[in-house]
Amino acid sequence: MKNWRALMQPHRIVLMALFVGFVIWCAIALRWDWIPKYTPLALGGLWRTIWILVVTTVMGFLLAIPLGLAQAVGPWYLSAPAKVFCTVIRGTPLLLQIWLLYYGLGSLFPQIPWIRGSELWPYLRQAWPYAVLALTLSYAGYEGEVMRGAFSGVNKGQLEAAEAFGMPRFTMFRRIWLPQAVRNVLPTLGGETILQLKATPLVATITVVEIYAVSSRVRSDTFIVYEPLLLLALVYMIIAGIITLLFRRFENRVNGTR
């Protein structure tokens, strides 16, 4: 109720009216008759965008944990390669990484007989494994750096307390160190996940048909340019909004606890 009243201020009413006007204008003046025809394709693309996002962030994060740990406390022979990996990933364009994997590995593999003969070959002939690999490595590279800071930032006294009570190392890592590190970087991870979402259109360049690829397809089929792009922007905003909400909910649950 209070929020509602806060909205009812003159300048806000004007802004809302402008927005509603824009939406109505879009609906009336622009062409949307192509939507029914492309709905199945768009839903498929949306699904692909979402699963690529989820799979690559989860796998990337799992990779980021050892990368961060190696850099934070590892011996040089682990920390140096981890550092190099993160630096290379962060220092080169994602588009380049995707292309190098797809055109590089993708053209190397067919020349190796045992790969061609393997069970995996039907998958390795497709584009999506390279897309998933590239996005996973990219997320791991960025988050590895984030986790390095997170691991070093955990209060030493709390680790010492775990040690003083005879906690084995792995238990200490699982029960104290990792949960504390993750909660410290949750806001950063939320932001990075949204960046990852916005990196997914790049895989359209290697023939993976996700939601952006569908909008390009509409454009080239029908010569309608702006409508699909506007709808695409809306779709990305909605997904980003959902990610923000999920992370916020998670953060609140954690923050009640400090």
Partner: protein, 266 residues
């Protein structure tokens, strides 16, 4: 002849059983700086040993060497008669042994060091459940009793950050008690507290002393040391300068340095 032999045989194991901590000739250096220069100490079961001394005297380091939070440079440490296996450089031979022994030494830190992502109850059951493999329900029952004992039963589901320093330290004591330690190690448990909160923590420690808990206590609270300790050790620059029963040591200090120290701390 036969009788005297049997007496010795009867006494020897008995004495070992009653021994809680024995430290022999402990040395510890940080680089070039020698912090402990050969400290020996014995504590029987039920003893409350207060370790006092100025800052930099090595008293905290000494305490932290006993559970190997600091690796000693040389010396011998026995906990309940079991010697901690050390290499010549003082590093532990067997991490498992250290972990096992640590679970018998409940430590209380100056900065509390409660796990901030867990409630008080979770803090107290953490080690019993995840290290000692006590069934969860049983650990929770016991934790509730312990929290009740330190006066924090109604805070069981609260996170440490919402508590005062005194409450946090009392919770930390409950956490240490949860492993039913054979020796409790207190590392300046009241030094980080506001003056008005010191009393509530000392009350808890006093009760523990009264029930016969074996404790090693590094402290700046001279009055308290005098009241609860059975034995007081004064460390000066990494060596035991003087030790004895509290009444004697505080009333009638022999060493000039201890006299000076007692005068400055009041």
């Amino acid at each position: 002849m036969t009788t005297s032999d049997s007496t010795i045989q009867n006494n020897a194991p008995c004495e070992v059983q009653d021994e809680a901590i024995r430290v022999m000739d402990l040395h510890k250096s940080f680089g070039m700086l020698e912090v402990l220069k050969g400290v020996s100490l014995k504590a029987q079961k039920g003893d409350v040993v207060a370790i006092i001394g100025g800052s930099g005297s090595g008293k905290s380091t000494f305490l932290r060497c006993i559970n190997f939070l600091e690796t000693p440079s040389s010396g011998q440490i026995f906990v309940n008669g079991e010697e901690i296996q050390m290499r010549p450089d003082g590093s532990p031979v067997n991490r498992r042994q250290i972990e096992r022994i640590r679970t018998r030494l409940g430590m209380v830190f100056q900065a509390f060091n409660l796990w901030t992502h867990r409630t008080l109850l979770e803090n107290v059951i953490e080690v019993p459940v995840h290290v000692l493999k006590v069934p969860r329900a049983e650990a929770i029952e016991r934790a509730k009793v312990l929290l009740d004992r330190v006066g924090l039963r109604d805070k069981a589901d609260t996170f440490p950050a919402f508590l005062s320093g005194g409450q946090q330290q009392r919770a930390a004591i409950a956490r240490a008690l949860a492993v039913d330690p054979s020796v409790m190690l207190f590392d300046e448990p009241t030094s980080a507290l506001d003056p008005e909160l010191v009393g509530e923590v000392l009350t808890v420690i006093r009760d523990l002393a009264a029930e016969g808990r074996t404790m090693l206590l590094v402290t700046h609270e001279m009055k308290f040391a005098r009241e609860v300790a059975t034995h007081v050790v004064y460390l000066y620059q990494g060596l035991i300068e003087e030790q004895g029963p509290p009444a004697e040591l505080f009333e009638n200090p022999k060493s000039a340095r201890l006299q000076q120290f007692l005068k400055t701390v009041g």
